[in-house]
Amino acid sequence: MSDTPIAPNTNRLGLTKSEYGGMPSTMCKGCGHDRISEAVIQAAYDLGLDARNLIKMSGIGCSSKTPAYFIGKAFGLNSTHGRMPSFATGAHVANRDLVPLGVSGDGDTASIGMGQFVHLLRRNARMVYIVENNGVYGLTKGQFSATADRSSPSKRGAHPTEEAIDLCGLALELGAGFVARSFSGDKKQLVPLLKSALSYDGLAFIDVISPCVTFNNHEASTKSYTYQKEHDVHFHDPTYVASFEHIDVEYEEGETRDVRLHDGSHLLLRKIDRDYDPTDRHAASRVIDESRSKGEVLTGMIFIDIAKTSLVSSMQMTKTPLAMLEEPELRPSRSALEKVMAGFRF
């Protein structure tokens, strides 16, 4: 199993899991977001990730605060509401060796952040983009976000007047190469998906249902723990095998799909009932849409395309991070300026 580190209680870098921790969380007790932070810590620990190569990016919201609570050894930027995609893109192109781990909320992404989210998907810069989706604005005390289902009333009984946005459906429509959905209460599924996302060279999007225990966890809510547990339907049973591990899970042919990721690691998807092909974009949209109308919430690896080229690769950029270049590389010579001047003379 990929979750077994090289030596007990330390990973291949010889680090304990606690060394991937952060400040104490200030989320409400039971908040789904904390579970996601734990999953991130688990994934980073299992991968033996060097925190210095990760940058934690977020917008504004309870969810966007969580980067303070994991991987304290990594730099991070808690930016402005809904604009994290642009900051992350800028940071990554400035230093291509830094992999942004973006944490956002449904309000931060689907409401104010929609414009930047759409263009981030198009641009396909390498990044892991997590939406901690609770259907409400937690930090401002429970107003509906754009992912709130019309059928899901607020605590006071009011209903959303507009259609909910399915962020995975949107990501598929916009050509995203890595689209997954999971549940903060389901580490067994979330951790391998996170690891795969971190191994993917492009924009890896994960919509994680993450109940807000304070404002949106009541009976009638469709974003509550109970609702999600009852309506969660898995595509497959995912296993991640890192490049430094050897595949020791045995499986019968046809039963499992083996997706080879950019860094040589593998995502093994064991078929559950129906055989679902996560490389067929149309099937993907159709299936999640149908399941939505059936009231199911499909989770798992919805779609993956490892052939897409990421922004930096398509830009013929130097391997050295731009941020590391100094005067000799950055400032052209006197003769270069002289040549330019010649053109402005006559």
């Binding site: 925190a51 210095r52 940058i55 934690k56 990016m57 980067p67 303070a68 304290g72 050894k73 990594a74 730099f75 991070g76 930027l77 808690n78 930016s79 402005t80 604009r83 995609p85 642009s86 900051f87 992350a88 893109t89 800028g90 940071a91 990554h92 192109v93 400035a94 230093n95 060796d97 830094l98 414009g115 930047q116 759409v118 263009h119 830009m315 013929q316 950029m317 130097t318 391997k319 050295t320 991070p321 731009l322 941020a323 590391m324 270049l325 100094e326 005067e327 590389e329 950055l330 400032r331 052209p332 006197r334 270069a336 300026l337 040549k339 330019v340 001047m341 402005f344 003379r345 006559f346």
Partner: protein
């Protein structure tokens, strides 16, 4: 009228936009430059791609003044739509070269002018066989007429045409021939009746022809900028567009021929500045260029850069506001907005270039400033500087080395026992900046945030901590005057009236002063916050008039805030019609006040 006026008049060409006349105008302009003259060009174009009226004004003067001359001595009213209005604006005795083939034109409207009617249509029909090329080539005919009438040597004309069509010899040839059609016609049919003449001169030694935005772009390349995020907007677009070209040509590639820069066209200005700030945070020199509407959209993200202390350079190529205003006209009206934009107590240092040379130098310097002070730096250019072609001194190789400012390197950290991203170790309010991968010291990793934070960058709601941070930021911004471009004083007579100006206004001011009997002392401000010497200048005069291109007297207001004890002496004279400022306006403003004084 003297029977000969040499190298001292201006020429106004009225055409419909998008008909190719710009090329002809450029050819005339460059031909003059080739003659050794330092002409000025003002392109008064509409916010439209084709059809609306446009005017191009070319001026020659013995001193090579670059400011707009309010009146013109020669007019080519080639746009039927504006013909009457164009003539109505002319003083009697103006030389008028009109299209004799224009239908339904009252002869009478030409009365009182020195008229040279030219049958452009017919000349084109007879002389240009290829009907497909004719519409564009016919514009060359007036070039030839002007050359012949005022004396542009054929050599200069040919040189100009060849330079405009650079490599394309064949194209140059047919254009030259078309021009010759006009020259020939003029020689054979027009009898010189006016005093205006052009002769070769020595005004262009060490000079170049360049647009301000082009110089700004070059400054970014030599300033070490490597990340550009932009969104198209007039008059700023060409900064990024020139930059793409210069990067490709002069920013040295790596061993594999790969690029050492990236230019991203963002989806809007919020994203453009967000990317630039993100890049600055990660340690690259980054910039975005825009104009008023874009700045308005950037203000929230810029507040984050200010408070989290992230370097970024923003170029505001100002146009006429408010709102969409006049996108193709010039103003200096974004100062108050930029200085205090974004909610809360913020200040954004501004630099004011006046010509292409400074556009280059300041753009280059802005990156050092942004990284040293870890704050957004605004370079306040405008449409007049940015999009017009200027005769400028050659750009000089930057003396100052690239200075990344106070970086938290392992050496620095080894020395400092106590460490904090926002700790004021040197007492100048400027902390040590962290860049991922620039140090291995684990203490430096932190979550940068726009919310309240202590010296270690940790979240804090403590009132003292918050106030202390705001005070340090204020000290830091006050301190920027140590490195911001200092004002330039032009001595003058007396301590009565003094002039203050900035940016492109300088050209009209210098010309106006030169033309006056008593030389009024003049201080050109080149940045905000203001240097102490600005206060000294005001203190040394009973009255100071700030000449600026906005309605509210924005720089005057910043001066009154900065030097309250001197506020009563600060007056302002303002032009805000959107045309480049003229010396005449400045002269009137000064004389009016001298009378009063």
């Amino acid at each position: 009228m003297p029977d000969s006026i040499v190298n001292d008049f201006s020429l106004r060409i009225a055409t419909p936009n998008g008909t190719g006349s710009q090329t002809s105008n450029l050819i005339i302009f460059r031909a003059l430059f080739h003659m050794g003259l330092a002409p000025s060009s003002k392109n008064l174009f509409p916010s439209n791609i084709a059809g609306l009226p446009t005017w191009y004004q070319i001026r020659v003067s013995p001193e090579g003044w670059q400011a707009r001359r309010e009146n013109w001595q020669v007019l080519l009213p080639l746009n039927p739509v504006t013909l009457a209005a164009d003539l109505a604006e002319c003083a009697p005795g103006t030389v008028v070269i009109d299209n004799a083939d224009m239908k339904g034109v009252e002869e009478s409207i030409f009365e009182g002018f020195i008229r040279y009617p030219v049958p452009f249509d017919q000349i084109a029909r007879d002389g240009i066989s290829d009907a497909k090329l004719r519409p564009k080539l016919r514009n060359l005919i007036y070039v030839g007429v002007v050359a012949e009438l005022f004396g542009i040597p054929e050599a200069s004309l040919r040189a100009s045409i060849e330079s405009v069509f650079s490599k394309k010899k064949a194209v140059a040839d047919i254009n030259f021939e078309a021009a010759m059609l006009g020259a020939t016609y003029a020689r054979e049919h027009l009898q010189k009746k006016d005093p205006y003449r052009l002769t070769s001169a020595e005004q262009t030694a060490g000079k170049i022809l360049i647009e301000g935005n082009d110089a700004t772009a070059l400054g970014c390349v030599f300033g070490g900028c490597s990340v550009v995020a932009w969104y198209p907007i007039t008059p700023a677009s060409s900064v990024a567009e020139f930059l793409i070209g210069h990067f490709a040509r002069v920013r040295e590639k790596d061993a594999d021929g790969a690029n050492r820069y990236i230019v991203v066209q963002a989806e809007d200005e919020l994203a453009a500045v967000g990317m630039a700030i993100g890049a600055g945070w990660a340690g690259a020199r980054s910039m975005t260029s825009t104009s008023g509407p874009g700045v308005s959209l950037m203000s929230e993200n810029l507040g984050l850069a200010y408070f989290a202390e992230i370097p970024v350079v923003v170029f505001d190529i100002q146009r006429v506001g408010p709102s969409t205003g006049l996108p193709t006209r010039t103003q200096q009206s974004d100062l108050l907005q930029v200085a205090f934009q974004s909610h809360g107590d913020t200040r954004f240092p501004m630099i004011f270039p006046t010509d292409p040379k400074e556009a280059f130098e300041f753009s280059c310097a802005a990156f050092n400033l942004a990284e040293h002070y870890q704050t957004p730096i605004f370079v306040m250019s405008d449409l007049d500087l940015g999009m017009n072609l200027w005769v400028s001194d050659e750009l000089e190789y930057p003396e100052a080395p690239i200075d990344r400012g106070k970086l938290a390197t392992d050496e620095v950290l080894a020395k400092s026992a106590e460490w904090g991203r926002y700790l004021d170790i040197d007492g100048d309010g400027v902390p040590y900046r962290t860049v991922p991968h620039k140090t291995t010291d684990p203490r430096t990793a932190h979550l940068t945030r726009g919310s309240g934070h202590d010296e270690q960058g940790r979240y804090s709601e403590n009132p003292e901590v918050y106030a202390r941070n705001l005070d340090r930021l204020a000290r830091k911004i006050d301190g920027t005057v140590d490195r911001l471009p200092a004002p330039i004083a032009h001595a003058g007579e007396g301590s009565g009236l003094g002039i203050i100006a900035f940016g492109t206004t300088d050209h009209a001011v210098r010309e106006a002063r030169a033309g006056m009997d008593s030389l009024v002392p003049y201080l050109r401000v080149r940045s905000w916050p203001f240097h102490a010497s600005v206060a000294d200048f005001v203190r040394n005069h009973e009255r100071v008039v700030v000449i600026e291109q906005n309605q509210q007297g924005q720089l005057a207001q910043l001066l009154r805030i900065a030097f309250p004890e001197l506020a009563p002496r600060i007056d302002s004279a303002r032009y805000y019609g959107g045309l480049p400022l003229s010396a005449a306006f400045v002269r009137d403003a000064i004389e009016e006040r001298m009378v009063k004084a």
